[in-house]
Amino acid sequence: MRPLGGKPRGAAEALIIPAGALAVSLILFGIFVAFAGANPLAVYRTIYRGAFGSWFSWQNTLQRAAPLMLTALCTALPAQVGLIVIGGEGALVIGAVATVAMAAVLPGVPPPAVVAAMLLAGMGAGGLWIALAGGLRHYRGVNETISSLLLNYIAIALMNHLVTGPMRDPAIVHRPSSWHVGEPNMIGLIPGMDVHWGLVFGVVACAVTWVLMEHTVFGFGARVVGGNTRAARIAGLSVGRLALITCFIAGAAAGLAGMTEIAAVHGRASSSLVAGYGYTGILVAFLARQNPLAVIPVAILLGGIEASGGLMQRWHDLPDATVLVVRGIIFLVILASEPLYGRFRIFQQRTA
């Protein structure tokens, strides 16, 4: 145990350690591809080309970054109140299911109204889903990390049940899918780009939640709760309310990702929603040190790595699971780098 003080977490530290972790991950990944029989340097070049090498790959990257920003918030926001939530995947799926359901109950309504209703449904459902984990923690003392992880499985099982039963569209045969939300209700692409509106939602959500946490009365209270619950109680703050609302907002962000996956990409709910955005989002949040604003560039970076996956596998004859391996390595290295904060004297002196 370290004595009080002496551990300021400076900005330089928060930048350099994750960057270093990322570099180490890439080196480890290079060793992995070398064993798989490919040339690491060539693979790095491919990652770069596939992620950021051309306007085409940039668009691909941004397209993938959009849901990552939103699912990352699902972890980054609860972290502000001291909760570690990893339920982004489940909240995304539930948001998507709610979106589809909402479209179905509003036949004949003008598309803008349907889109607005779908937005609310997706965000509301995702929000409630994560608020459930927060509530279990606050009222029943259930560990929120475990419960949010289990809620992921429940959400996926629920969706599978619905798309093979009550919500199934029998016309689709190759994969059990729900009915379509209707072409007019699709939100489409940002003008002039081959990227859907989810990117705008993602960037706006990150910016808004950052302002919320740093510059509002609500965010101040939330940070007090996250920093020291005992101190929050002494200030009379309602710890449970702040935590639940924060969880709701976090889940709403992931639910919004689910809504855009439906309304901008798939049109219907199916197992293709379970693409690991929720889990990569956790990675993004940790790399961004739970800072909503830092989530934006980090999501783009990891979106790029994911975007280059296909190219990597095709050009270098690497196994399909390669992207999973990258993700796994980064995750392990990030977690392993966590104890390094406060260890480097240069940072302490510079920031003190």
Binding site: L4, G5, V217, G219, G227, N228, G236, S238, Q349, A352
Partner: protein, 528 residues
């Protein structure tokens, strides 16, 4: 005496690891010199060219006001901080100490004000944990015997099989010290070791340490604010003031007055505030058959009934661990009561923010870094706790006005003389006493109707103690109703109008301060 520890697996492993240092650490302590230590935090010079010599077998006291740099100095020795300049010389050899591990290897150990023991483990297990060379598989039999030998040889008597959670503060502090001795530290640094102890406990522990230094088995460097302890136990003293050396000498040649002067220089100690005459103020705070459980679910506060009038200080005396902490936590909103009621101004009170604001209830809790601050938020933010959600600290209804928050903080920092490099520094970087001042500034700077104070002067220097007591008295004179929980009887006798004694969760005795008798109060505290 300590040669019992020769041989055995553990020791040879240690020898392998730390080279030849075993022989030295097992023997008598070496002379420790600190030369030209300088440490800056940003623009703040926390230590300016400080030198200090701890002779072998000496009991050396390190004194100074809050924020003088005492903790920083010993942290530089222990390797927690890298000094900007200066060296540590042990037995004439210059050493580079990069961290507490290095320091331990050299036989230098530190005991903190806060306990670092694992509460759920036994004393023996805690001692074992302290060993840096813990083997993969622990031979409990052999270790147990070794430990018995070790403890037999030590003047500190504690039950090795007791779980730490069952020990009183004094016992825990003994275990902390034993832990350092068990890992062969012969130079012991103690940072305010007695601030959580009763005077009796403190005297016992310091007495034992003193005997060990006399026998040449140990050198002690102790930080303290209590001049009484310095006079009674230390041989030498070094005094710091604002990072500079303010004086040093043999204790026998100095008087408490000299020491106080060295510490605070020419500045005055606040005179005790006059107790203004208040007659029968309105009742402000009332507890009615209040009960609460402790963390383990046992009843800690039972059927406490009490009232405090405006302009009155009611003191609660008692040996720590008799339910005072839980009582304060209930009043502060940190713990649910299990039965009974609290009313303020005649209305039910459950410590919500709205009620605190309406009734102007404030709280000085003990151990403020744990109870009342967020160490990674800035000083300005910590100072804004009570008011961040109301004008002028807000913009519109929803947004924070950071500028106003900083200005308000700067104002409080000057008014309450908080030593800090900037309002944006994280609260965790403040010295112990300055954390206390910060909380004081936050809680007492506005209008106060009800104040709950728990050991408000723990860990403060003499000037600050005088000042805080004066502040509390002034708040009373302005008409606040104050409930003061303290383990320091002097403090209670100085401040309280009425005194109640808490024993085993119950209020067992009540007296007006005018007619109070120390011996009677002491008897009730001991449960007779």
């Amino acid at each position: 005496m300590i040669k019992m520890r020769g041989g055995g697996v553990g020791v040879s492993a240690r020898a392998g690891r730390f080279g030849g240092s075993v022989a030295e650490t097992n023997a008598a302590p070496q002379r420790l010199q600190v030369a030209g230590m300088t440490k800056r935090f940003g623009s703040l010079v926390a230590l300016d060219d400080i030198s200090l010599t701890l002779e072998a077998g000496a009991f050396h006291a390190l004194l100074g006001e809050n924020g003088a740099g005492k903790s920083t100095l010993v942290k530089c020795v222990m390797g927690y901080h890298a000094p900007d300049k200066g060296t540590v010389i042990l037995g004439g050899v210059e050493q580079t100490i990069r961290g507490p591990r290095d320091a331990h290897a050299l036989g230098i150990g530190m005991v903190y004000q806060h306990f670092t023991l694992v509460p759920s483990m036994t004393v023996a297990e805690n001692l074992l944990l302290a060993r840096a060379d813990l083997p993969m598989v622990i031979d409990r039999g052999a270790e147990g015997r070794r430990m018995q030998e070790f403890v037999k040889d030590m003047p500190f008597k504690v039950d090795l099989t007791a779980p730490v959670s069952a020990l009183a503060a004094g016992e825990k502090q003994k275990v902390e010290i034993l832990k350092q001795l068990y890992v062969d530290c012969r130079i012991l640094i103690l940072d305010e070791p007695t601030s959580v102890l009763t005077p009796g406990e403190a005297d016992e522990i310091l007495g034992l340490l003193h005997d060990m230094t006399m026998a040449g088995r140990l050198s002690v460097l102790m930080i303290t604010h209590k001049l009484r302890e310095v006079m009674a136990f230390a041989d030498e003293v070094t005094v710091l003031r604002r990072g500079r050396l303010a004086g040093r000498g043999k204790v026998e040649k100095l008087t408490p007055r000299d020491l106080a002067e060295m510490m605070i220089g020419s500045s005055e100690i606040a005179a005790p505030a006059e107790r203004a005459v208040q007659t029968n103020g309105r009742e402000r705070l009332r507890l009615e058959r209040l009960c609460a459980d402790n963390d383990k679910g046992h009843r800690a506060v039972s059927n406490v009934s009490l009232f405090v009038r405006a302009g009155e200080i009611v003191g609660i005396a008692g040996v720590s661990g008799n339910g005072q902490t839980e009582l304060v936590e209930v009043l502060a909103g940190q713990r649910e009561s299990s039965a009974g009621t609290v009313t303020v101004h005649g209305e039910p009170y459950t410590a919500t923010r709205a009620e605190m604001r309406r009734h102007k209830v404030f709280c000085l809790s003990e151990d403020p870094l744990r109870n009342a601050c967020v160490s990674r938020m800035s000083v300005a933010e910590n100072l804004a706790y009570r008011r961040f959600d109301e004008p002028p600290l807000t913009l519109g209804r929803w947004f924070l006005n950071r500028g106003a928050m900083r200005r308000a903080a700067s104002d409080l920092i000057t008014r309450y003389r908080i030593t800090v490099s900037s309002p944006d520094a994280p609260a965790g970087t403040l010295s112990g006493g300055n954390v206390q001042r910060m909380v004081l500034a936050r809680e007492l700077s506005g209008e106060v109707d009800v104040l709950i104070a728990a050991n408000p002067c723990f860990g403060l220097d003499i000037a600050a103690v005088a000042e805080i007591r004066a502040q509390i008295m002034r708040a009373r004179n302005r008409g606040a109703a104050i409930l003061l929980v303290s383990e320091d009887l002097d403090e209670l006798f100085e401040l309280a109008d009425r005194l109640v004694v808490m024993f085993n969760g119950d209020l067992v005795y009540e007296t007006e301060i005018a007619g109070a008798d120390l011996a009677t109060v002491g008897r009730y505290m001991a449960g007779h």
